[in-house]
């Protein structure tokens, strides 16, 4: 085990930790999006789902702490490697031409930072209710916290819509490169599957973003009220 641990001290090993924790976070965003789609089933379904999650405090806090740890390792190591990578070329080129690097892969640090800022905002807004306290403690007819009402209230506000859409741009860009890239980082490749693996990132990224954007826009366009 000590050897395995010492492996993670190298830059290639750290990159593997970034990939693994990143994939953990990807699993979370996928289920987060799927869970929230229950908005379209109405207030009853979404509020029951929220209450269901809150009714299991041990599981909820385990998940939260797990996510926090993954985020801390992911972001901490990503920043560390990015700094190290910049230092590996102290004097740059007068002309530098990219030949095949995708836009998403070139903006990982920026899209990651956008995500971090958005994540902070999102947690303060809908989880902690600090940014817009107006709706944080309403109860619905069944006595559950009215998450539905809170979401509808939030996205009727065009400023919130803009912030959330910007966050989704960051998320989409980050995932487009990240998912396919982490397959490579974890050492998996297969001649026959390479196209499929390359398509993984953009496709999953697009599905997550479309799901989230659908919620925001459905409320904003008053399709869900």
């Amino acid at each position: 085990m000590i050897r395995l641990f010492s492996h993670f001290q190298s830059s290639a090993g750290k990159k593997m930790v970034i990939a693994l924790t990143g994939l953990g976070l990807v699993v979370f965003v996928v289920f987060h999006m799927l869970g929230n789609l229950q908005l379209f089933q109405g207030a009853h379904a979404l509020n029951r789902y929220a209450a269901f999650l809150r009714d299991m405090p041990i599981l909820l806090w385990t998940a939260r702490i797990g996510l926090l740890c993954m985020a801390v390792f992911h972001i901490g190591l990503a920043v560390q490697l990015s700094v190290r990578n910049r230092r590996a070329r102290p004097v740059g080129y007068l002309i530098h031409r990219y030949r095949q690097a995708s836009i998403a892969s070139r903006t990982m640090a920026i899209s990651g930072m956008t995500l971090l800022v958005f994540l902070g905002f999102h947690l303060l807004h809908l989880t902690a209710g600090v940014i817009d306290p107006a709706f944080s403690d309403h109860l619905d007819a069944e006595g559950h916290r009215d998450v539905y009402g809170k979401v509808v209230h939030a996205f009727q506000n065009p400023f919130m819509v803009i912030i959330y859409l910007a966050g989704q741009v960051g998320l989409g860009l980050h995932l487009t490169h990240a998912i396919s890239s982490s397959v490579q980082t974890m050492g998996f490749e297969h001649a026959g599957l390479s196209r499929l693996l390359k398509a993984f990132g953009p496709v999953i990224g697009l599905i997550v973003v479309l799901g989230n954007v659908a919620i925001v826009l459905a409320v904003f366009l008053r399709i869900v009220r």
Partner: protein, 262 residues
């Protein structure tokens, strides 16, 4: 043909460098890029000026010495060739051409366009070999190696160690080089016994030399004169992960391979 060249000039490792503009006259389309530079240097010598230093040896794409970033691309605009295999007919008459050295912390500039690439040699010294003497070439079919394996090993072995992958990478990472060497040896039976130690030692050496890590952009693959595929980088990661798991079940090795006898 005529060209306007913007070339990086630097007198020594610790001197400040700068771009200097030169005119290249009477260039024939059939001249190679290095022959064109020879012409420029002849004129400079005639005028009593210091010629532009650049590295070259075989001039046929096999030694990996030539190393110029031409208009922002290592080894120039064509794929699958080295600088010495690039011909002037590839450029428009009268074009401006910018020529820079490989740029990386691990490749300090020695003079003008010549960089010190011994970092790659030190990575090889860390583990890019097999310790037993395998003797001369064995008779055919004594050592059975599947065709797929033989071809994969040969593809990886075609790396000439030029360092263009490092020059092209935004992180100045040598992952493609290390991947080629590790995959080459891990694929063949002679390389198997030291498989785990090799990959760990070579990646550690890469970090020590100050190369960056891989962001999976595959710019390296696009400029590699030998078309080494970035799939070998996945293979390198696989070898490394495997080594971590396999080695963690083993008793720790002596510090040096010769420790027992001392």
């Amino acid at each position: 043909m005529k060209f306007t060249l913007k070339i990086w000039r630097q007198e020594g490792p610790h001197e400040p460098g700068r771009f200097v503009t030169y005119e290249a006259h009477e260039v024939s389309p059939g001249m190679s890029f290095l022959e064109m530079l020879d012409g420029v240097n002849q004129r400079l010598l005639g005028k009593g000026e210091e010629p532009v230093a650049f590295e070259q040896d075989c001039r046929e794409g096999i030694c990996g010495s030539c190393s110029l970033v031409i208009n922002g691309i290592p080894h120039g605009p064509d794929q699958g060739i080295t600088t010495c295999q690039l011909y002037m007919r590839r450029f428009c008459d009268g074009a401006d051409i910018t020529i820079e050295p490989w740029r990386a912390k691990a490749f300090p500039i020695l003079k003008d366009l010549v960089v010190d690439r011994r970092g790659l040699d030190r990575i090889m010294q860390a583990g890019g070999y097999i310790s037993v003497n395998t003797g001369g070439a064995v008779d055919g079919n004594v050592l059975l190696i599947g065709k797929d394996q033989a071809e994969a090993a040969m593809d990886a072995a075609s790396c000439i160690g030029c360092g263009a992958c490092v020059a092209a990478c935004k992180n100045a990472s040598a992952m493609l080089f290390v991947a080629a060497k590790v995959s080459h040896m891990a694929t063949l039976p002679q390389g198997r016994p030291e498989r785990e130690r090799r990959v760990s030692a070579m990646l550690e050496a890469m970090d020590r030399e100050g190369f960056g890590s891989c962001s999976n952009q595959y710019e390296c693959e696009a400029v590699c004169p030998k078309h080494i595929s970035a799939r070998f980088i996945a293979n390198l990661n696989h070898e490394y992960l495997r080594a971590g798991i396999v080695e963690s079940g083993r008793p720790s090795e002596p510090e040096s391979p010769h420790a027992e006898s001392s």
